[in-house]
Symmetry: C2
Subunit: 394 residues, 2 copies
């Protein structure tokens, strides 16, 4: 399918792709690039941070908040959760995830592999796939490389992920190698099935393979080398944020990225902290997702231009200033730390809404600044400037 | 203060009032009237339903939702809760409730009497006031007629309530009479204090006395007769919705209203179901509040033009229609019953937001229809038409 033109592919090849990616600027010093992801549900500027809407909703926010307040272009939903409840066939009958949750823009789904992996006691991995028990009712289910593609096609996701096997941290080289090998075999099986199904469903979304290999650079490189033969529309780097030191996650990305095609988006799954976003981008990552901004928001931890604000602290009791004076979000423009602290202490739902709105805005603002500095050629200076800001600890 | 003009008072008198009320139309057949309540934070068209924001927030909604989506003009907040947490002095230092919660429109506060009454074991009533233990930390506090005025003035409420004593249902005539007598004495004490304080704080809100008397029409009439001597800006009818048959609540309103001044707003506290709203209005009530639309919303019960919709029911599992095809709210315009049922089953916060938005819109739409039919002179027909609609039971 590829190979006619080393960098972009021909127009013919591009028309076969479910999504296409355009690199519009590259940093001459770091590996950072700014691009545009063209999806059936609109364009997504990269680098992009993808908010997490596990059960077909970003906890506490309406789709209107996500579009009008945050201008989110790409949302993540979790296949494992939606497969169990309400079920992918129900979602298919409601017009896929876009129709079901009334989300007009692009959607990325994971394969459920990471969630099943985190069930530990309730799962059993075989060559065919992974057998697991539902955390909701204990019912047994089997995910195979093929079935997870089918489920995600029922969800009508714009960007789907292959089933992968994640190892924990620490893991032996042998265990990591075995999981990586299985991930690679599963990716091939998933793509064979996906290509067959696309004949009848040419509008289906893109499918990304996932690079695994634990915290071993050699395995990561080997995995990437195998997966590029699939000529996918994009590549994910999985198995990060499983308990390893954060420097190790960055090292793994460094090992993988040079082996991936320049003209396809690279997606680091499940990262990271606000101060880590520029580091991933500097290493050539285009897409990231993380539950931290929304989960920490609900727990009362807000990310600001001055570091973390832990709202339950007594010093904010009568603080009439906004969470972040430099922030333009609805929360910071309208409410004081004192009011937000009251809502948190009183267990009021409005707290989660206002805090999530702020934290996601913070992440998206960082990504906009990153993209802008890549476009105007000042990314190395940007990275230096944020690295030199001391991050207050919680 | 009054008496110069029997119906409206002179301009001089009006300028002394914290709020004023204009009757703009009256139903010639029933006791219904349409009016305008002029408050320091904007005009409120009556009859009005007042959404409940107990802890300085309507659970699940932003102030922006309340203004832009629902056009709420008057909001209720609970003195008992806010006194305990975050404390009225903190709220005073943040610019009163309007500043604290960033609510630009009118606010009504109760006195905390009803909440303290519902504590049962934790309270002790004396002539001076009511001693109670906080449900949060067990600390002892005393509410007096004077202190509850002071607390509500710190909250900078537009419409304050006097401390009252509520009896449960059933209650003996003797017990109801005693509580009514104490309520009347407390109202006099509250007004004496309020009038003193207003000399230094001429911008303070209005204070409404509360008619009590249990479920005894003679006591209700006696209480109203005593309270009109206070020449208040408005009158509340309390002690309803304490477990009595709903027909009895309406009978008590019928007993009280003829004894209240025609040119002052009448507020039935804590009522009612959607189908009861027209009944209260037909009996001369101008203002109502109730937790039902928001609480039932969170529990999955939605009020529609076709009756209740209990979303957890299996029949809505793949129902792609809106909650109420006749409703123009954000929820009905954008989401299916199937999606809402999924959110409810999955315990997602967004459910509470979307359901509350709908139920409040339903209540406010009913009030708008009521007001419109009074204005165009068709209220009796309106009441007949809604009475003849069978209400499906839950």
């Amino acid at each position: 399918m590829r190979g006619v033109s080393a960098d972009r592919g021909t127009d013919y090849n591009r028309s076969l792709r479910a999504i296409t990616f355009e690199v519009v600027a590259e940093c001459p010093t770091t590996g950072a690039r700014a691009g545009i992801l063209h999806t059936p549900h609109g364009d997504v500027e990269t680098p992009v941070f993808i908010p997490v809407g596990t059960q077909a909703t970003v906890k506490g926010l309406t789709p209107r908040d996500l579009v009008e307040e945050l201008d989110v272009r790409l949302l993540l939903a979790n296949t494992y959760h939606l497969f169990l409840r309400p079920g992918h066939e129900l979602i298919r009958s409601c017009g896929g995830l876009h129709g079901f949750m009334n989300w007009p823009r692009a959607i990325l789904t994971d394969s459920g592999g990471f969630q099943v992996f985190s069930l530990s006691d309730l799962r059993k991995v075989t060559e065919a796939g992974v057998l697991f028990r539902s955390h909701l009712d204990g019912d047994e289910h089997l995910f195979t490389p093929e079935s997870t593609v089918d489920v995600q096609m029922a969800l009508a996701s714009d960007i789907m992920m292959v089933l992968d096997e994640c190892v924990g941290y620490p893991a032996t080289h042998e265990a990591a190698r075995e999981a990586m090998k299985r991930t690679t075999a599963w990716a091939r099986a998933a793509f064979a099935h996906y290509r067959e199904r696309r004949v009848e469903a040419p509008g289906a979304g893109a499918l990304f393979p996932i690079v695994q290999g634990g915290m071993y650079a050699d395995l990561r490189r080997e995995c990437a080398g195998e997966l590029i033969a699939l000529e996918a529309d994009g590549y994910a780097i999985g198995g990060l944020s499983v308990g390893e030191p954060r420097s190790l996650s960055l090292e793994m990305v460094e090992a993988v990225v040079p082996g991936l095609p320049r003209d396809r988006p690279r997606y680091a799954m499940g990262v990271g902290l606000p101060e880590e976003l520029p580091e991933y981008v500097a290493r050539g990552v285009d897409m990231m997702d993380c539950v931290l901004p929304s989960r920490n928001a609900r727990n009362g931890c807000l990310f600001t231009s001055q570091g973390r604000v832990i709202l339950k602290q007594a010093r904010y009791r009568d603080d009439q200033g906004p969470v972040d004076p430099a922030c333009g979000c609805y929360t910071c423009q309208n409410f004081s730390r004192a009011y937000l602290r009251h809502l948190f202490q009183a267990g009021e739902m409005l707290f989660a809404t206002l805090a999530t709105l702020h934290n996601l805005r913070r992440y998206l603002d960082i990504m906009r600044r990153i993209r802008h500095s890549i476009l105007i050629g000042t990314y190395p200076q940007y990275v230096e400037s944020v690295r030199s800001v001391p991050i207050p600890q919680e």
